[in-house]
Symmetry: C2
Subunit: 460 residues, 2 copies
DNA sequence: AAATTTGTCTATTTACATTTC
DNA sequence: GGAAATGTAAATAGACAAATT
């Protein structure tokens, strides 16, 4: 429940429409937007109830409603019946996490970039493919729905996660983000709502914004969505689907329990929700649990990118898609890309076919574990405990920090990190946490240096 | 009050709402949608005026208005004041031009796929890049705004067209379609309108659909937009921008005159329109004219893909973007892809840097010219005359054909072509024409065979 | 458990602007 | 050039439903 000291009197916002021209509802919406953007109205502020403002401005209730609605659709507000209308906490947050700007003085632990050492095999495979007689075709267009070879590689790839599907349900995409964007475009429409964990991957926030899709936080306990939370959002907020990251959730690094996976599958069927399951880190987990898709293949679009597990430069992800959405997804991918690179897709397939992918994966996991040992040692007591192959870690901050303030301090100290604000969904007040990347620093020395600098800040 | 005499009016549509439940406007919109999709209402049909239907159904005018509006936003209708509401001609048209389904019995002349012979150099460059010491980095993420090297290659690439810009205004994208999609997402919003030629590239239609952007045909004479047409659309249809293909326009293969290029630049400034200029075929033209962007660089997003000119498998396009939209475009590209493949982008840059791109281009142009000579000879009198390096050709059909009917006949005869319907924008009645691809058939023999089959159909 | 607060939704009234004839 | 046809837009009224107290 909102703990707001400013009650109904005095009104938190007293707009002046006397100087505006044209439609009242538009003028009101614009005023609201500018007051939010210039900081007069801060995130979390409760706006006056529609009726009160209507009274104050001597306008009809519906006119105010329309203005609020407009701003809500722009992601500036979030409203709920009986409760009121609040300024969204992510209204002004930055959505883009650009990769390090090649500033050699900064230690990049914000963006998550896999280290390059495992790329050697990928390179070798690329070279050997070019010696094949049909190599010239690797530089032509590829089929939007993928070749048979690519799709069979996808099937094999998914089997490693304990998810058994067939090549008719698999489509390749140009990376995980590309797959997420296409899935959103294919399966949802403007103004549709999708439930997510209360903090989630910023890439899905920016993709949803492109299509006017709204993300709403689903009530969660211990970093997992609850059954009541999902049912509530389905019945009362009219969400059409869910977006979840069951393995090493971004940013909490939490691994979802088997029971919750099964619960989500069951509730999705019940409530007719389409689940976008982002399996980006599934194979990094030792003996990974099967994805939600394995319990409800007709209800889940399952996305598995090779970026974090094999090599980001491959720009390859495989998508399992239910029959119902197959054509739509292919069309969306076509609209976004025309086609993926046959060269990169074929390299990916080849790596999977004869086991090189497994070797790379094992190597990567070993490398990540080595790094996590360092982090555990240096940040003991600060970092949230996690299994050793986590590519990202989560740090609970002392109460006097906010995620953003720590982010700024860390930058001063030469380390890039990501504050909780970047992950917040809807009008949830962001937690006092930051996420750090395990894999981005190019060497163990730089990682150690970065983590030590963070410890100094936390210790003060 | 409903009056009894409606049977006398020739109302084109008499919906029955008696069996529906819930909101009237929604029920009406759904009925309308299903009647369009199941063919009861054909493209081009004039719907009853809102007032008439309101009277007939005993509903308020605004209720009908709302239902029509909904369908219009779904791209099913197009309405204009004083004129009436019509079923869109592209309401049921297929948007996706999937590449040939590897059916060896069909001669593919529908989709435009560059022939693969020129890919040898591209392959060689790729191989040599892999031998460089920093090759492993080619498999990591790339910077969303492009590396310095990539952007400088873009500058050099644009100079070949006579367009001089600088590397701060250049962003790389994963191919031309990807660039178009990103540009639409970055520069326009839901329900915005964009003017296009009356027939245009289907890829822009499907991309616009993803974002709820509406394409409206701009009045054109002799295949070029007129000044009055653009001003009219700006002032009365409230278009926010234009999408144009000045060189070998798709599907007409028309090359826009220099005067029109300058006119569009001037009018865009005047009316504050943002032009998305698709320069996909510019460099295929012998001594190409400068793009519109060169006359109004602050008003034009200029896209130049390497797909048609160098190799489609490179999945590389360069985009010139005005300062005002730079950040938005980078964000949109990030939301769609995270990053492009550094490997492919670097191969592209390398090809441009030391002139290999020019050699490939010359070779391609020679190959296309050779093919056009064959087409000119066999389809003399049927095909619209064109310069020799056109990658696509336009055929005016005898009046008893429609584009679609010819498409079906050709398919029976073993040749895939694209009927005018696929390119039609808004509620313009499609012309009786088809587009054929010059470059797709893998050999000259197959091309000759395909073109001869088409001639047989046209001669009958 | 009932009353109150609060946002949402549909349909309507009224005025207006553009195009056609 | 004016009247008629036609679509568009804003503001309103009223009923409703969910959440809070």
């Amino acid at each position: 429940m909102p703990v707001n000291s400013f009650d109904n009197y005095p009104m938190s916002w007293k707009p002046d429409l006397s100087k505006t021209t044209g439609a009242k509802y538009l003028a009101l919406a614009e005023l609201l937007e500018s007051d939010i953007k210039n900081g007069k109205l801060k995130a979390g502020t409760k706006l006056p109830p529609q009726r009160e403002l209507a009274d104050f401005l001597d306008l009809n209730l519906s006119t105010i409603s329309k203005a609020y609605k407009l701003c809500e659709q722009r992601g500036l507000l979030s409203a709920s019946v009986g409760n009121g209308t609040y300024v969204s906490s992510d209204a002004t947050a930055e959505h883009v996490l650009l990769c390090g700007k090649e500033d050699s003085h900064m230690i990049e632990m914000g963006a998550i970039v896999p280290f390059v050492t495992s790329n050697l095999k990928v390179k070798q495979y690329t070279e050997s493919l070019m010696k094949k007689p049909d190599a010239l075709n690797l530089f032509s267009y590829g089929a939007p729905e993928g070749t048979r070879r690519q799709r069979e590689a996808g099937v094999a790839w998914f089997e490693k996660s304990g998810f058994y599907t067939d090549k008719e349900h698999i489509v390749p995409a140009a990376g995980g983000q590309n797959a997420i964007t296409a899935a959103l475009a294919a399966c949802f429409g403007t103004h549709d709502k999708i439930g997510t964990e209360p903090m989630t991957y910023p890439g899905v926030k920016s993709a949803a914004k492109l299509f006017g899709i709204h993300l709403v936080p689903v009530q969660s306990d211990y970093n997992e969505m609850t059954e009541e939370g999902i049912r509530y959002a389905a019945q009362n907020e009219n969400i059409k689907g869910l977006y979840v990251i069951p393995d090493y959730q971004n940013p909490t690094a939490h691994i979802m329990s088997l029971e919750t996976r099964k619960m989500i599958a069951r509730v999705a069927k019940d409530e007719n929700l389409l689940v976008i399951e982002d399996g980006i880190n599934n194979l990094l987990v030792d003996r990974p649990m099967p994805p939600i898709a394995s319990f409800a293949p007709e209800q889940v679009v399952y996305i598995s990118s090779l970026s974090k597990t094999i090599s980001p430069g491959l720009r390859t992800a495989f998508v399992h898609v239910p029959d119902k959405y197959h054509e739509k997804l292919v069309t969306a991918l076509y609209s976004l890309n025309i086609s993926i690179s046959p060269l990169l897709a074929t390299v990916s397939a080849a790596l999977i076919e004869d086991g090189a992918a497994d070797e790379i994966l094992a190597e990567r996991k070993k490398g990540i574990a080595e790094r996590n040992l360092i982090i555990n040692q240096i940040l003991d007591g600060f970092v949230t405990p996690s299994r050793l192959t986590a590519p990202l870690r989560y740090i609970q901050l002392p109460e006097y920090f906010t995620g953003k303030s720590f982010e700024i301090c860390a930058k001063q100290a030469g380390v890039e990190v990501c504050g909780a604000e970047r992950f917040a969904v809807g009008n949830k007040m962001p937690e006092k946490t930051v996420r750090i990347s395990v894999t981005t620093p190019p060497t163990l020395e730089i990682l150690t240096d970065g983590v030590k600098r963070l410890r100094e800040l936390l210790r003060q």
